[in-house]
Point group: C2
Chain length 194, copies 2
C-alpha cells in the first residue's frame, strides 16, 4: 500500500466519510421522526448498505458521527460569541428535523453504557456544552428583569429539566439532581404570573 498523503487513499476515505455524513444530514432533513433507512443514506452517497458500512466500524459509529456532524453544522450558527438566545435558533433547527431529535434521544439513552459508541461523544458533548453555555451566562447574566411566565410553561420546563438532568447525571454522577431541581422550582415559582 502507498503511503497515505493528502491526495492518497486516506484522504479519499476522509472525503468520502464527509460526503456520506452530508448526505445523511440531507436525508434526515427530508425525513419524518422515524428517520431515513441506512439503505437510503447509502443510495444517496452512491453506495450499497454494505459499502456504506465500510467507512464506519459499525452502524452505531455512523449514527454518532451523524450527530457530531449536526453539531458541527449548528456550531456555525451557535458558537462562543453568539448570544444565549441563539440556542433557541438551534432548537428551531431541531424542530425541522424530528428524525435527528429522535436519533439524539436514542443515542443518549445508549450513552451510559461505557462500551457504546455514543459514550465518549455524549460525555464530552455535555461537558463542553456546559462550559460554553456557562461562559455565555457569565457574560450576559444579571440586570435584566425576569420575564413573567405562565404555570403551563413552568410545568413543561421543570419536567423537561428533570428528565434532561437525569441524562446528564447518568454520565456524570457528581451532579446534584435534587439541589438543581429544587433551585429551579424556586426560580420558576418566583416568575409565575407576575
Amino acid at each position: 500500500m502507498s503511503e497515505p498523503s493528502r491526495r492518497g487513499p486516506y484522504a479519499k476515505g476522509v472525503a468520502r466519510r464527509q460526503q456520506i455524513l452530508r448526505e445523511a444530514l440531507a436525508a434526515y432533513a427530508e425525513s419524518d421522526s422515524s428517520g431515513p433507512s441506512l439503505r437510503s443514506i447509502a443510495a444517496r452517497a452512491g453506495l450499497s448498505e454494505r459499502g456504506l458500512l465500510h467507512y464506519f466500524p459499525a452502524r452505531d459509529e455512523l449514527l454518532v458521527a451523524i450527530l457530531a456532524e449536526r453539531d458541527t453544522a449548528d456550531r456555525a450558527s451557535f458558537d462562543a460569541d453568539t448570544p444565549l438566545d441563539d440556542l433557541a435558533a438551534v432548537a428551531a433547527h431541531s424542530a425541522r428535523t424530528p428524525g435527528l431529535v429522535r436519533l439524539f434521544l436514542e443515542m443518549s439513552a445508549a450513552a451510559p453504557d461505557p462500551d457504546h459508541a455514543a459514550h465518549g461523544f455524549f460525555t464530552r458533548r455535555y461537558r463542553d456544552l456546559r462550559e460554553v453555555v456557562a461562559r455565555k451566562f457569565r457574560r450576559s447574566g444579571g440586570g435584566n428583569p425576569a420575564p413573567a411566565v405562565d404555570p403551563e410553561f413552568a410545568a413543561r420546563i421543570l419536567i423537561a429539566a428533570s428528565d434532561g438532568l437525569q441524562a446528564q447525571w447518568l454520565l456524570d454522577p457528581s451532579l446534584d439532581l435534587t439541589a438543581d431541581l429544587s433551585r429551579l422550582a424556586k426560580l420558576l415559582e418566583s416568575a409565575v404570573s407576575r
Copy 2:
C-alpha cells in the same frame, strides 16, 4: 374454564403481576445503572424467565409496567397536594436507582414509535404530569423573591430543558420548542449572579 372471580385465576394473575413488579423495583433498587437482568427479576419472583414473560405480553410491556409501578410508588410521596419542592424528593429517589433512570431514558427514546409499548404510557404521563405540576405552580406562584443562581447551574438547566423538551415535543409536536427555550434563557439570565 371457571368464571373469573376475585378469588379465581384472573385475580391470581393480577396479584402475581403485582408481586413481579414489586420484586422488579426491589431488584432495580439494588442494582447499578445497567439494571438487573430479567432472569434475576424472575428468580426473585420464584419464576423462570419464560414463566415471567407469561404474565406480560412482551419484554417491553414488562419494562413499561415497571416504570408505571415506580410512578405509583412515587405518587404516594408526590401528589396534587404536596408542595412543588417535593419534586426534588422524587429526583432524590431517582438518584438512588440509576438503573430505573436509564430504563426511563431508554423507554422514552422508544416512545415516539406509535407501535411501541412505551408510546401510550409516555404520552399520557407527560400530559398528566404537566397538568399536575402546572396546577401546583398556579397555587404557589408569584410573590417569592427569585433565588440567585450561578452560571454553571444556568447552563446545566438550559441544556437539560432543551433535551427534555425535545423528548416531550416528539410526542406532542404542538409544543413550541423555540419559544420555550428562548423564554427560559431570559429567565435564567435575569437570575444569574444577583
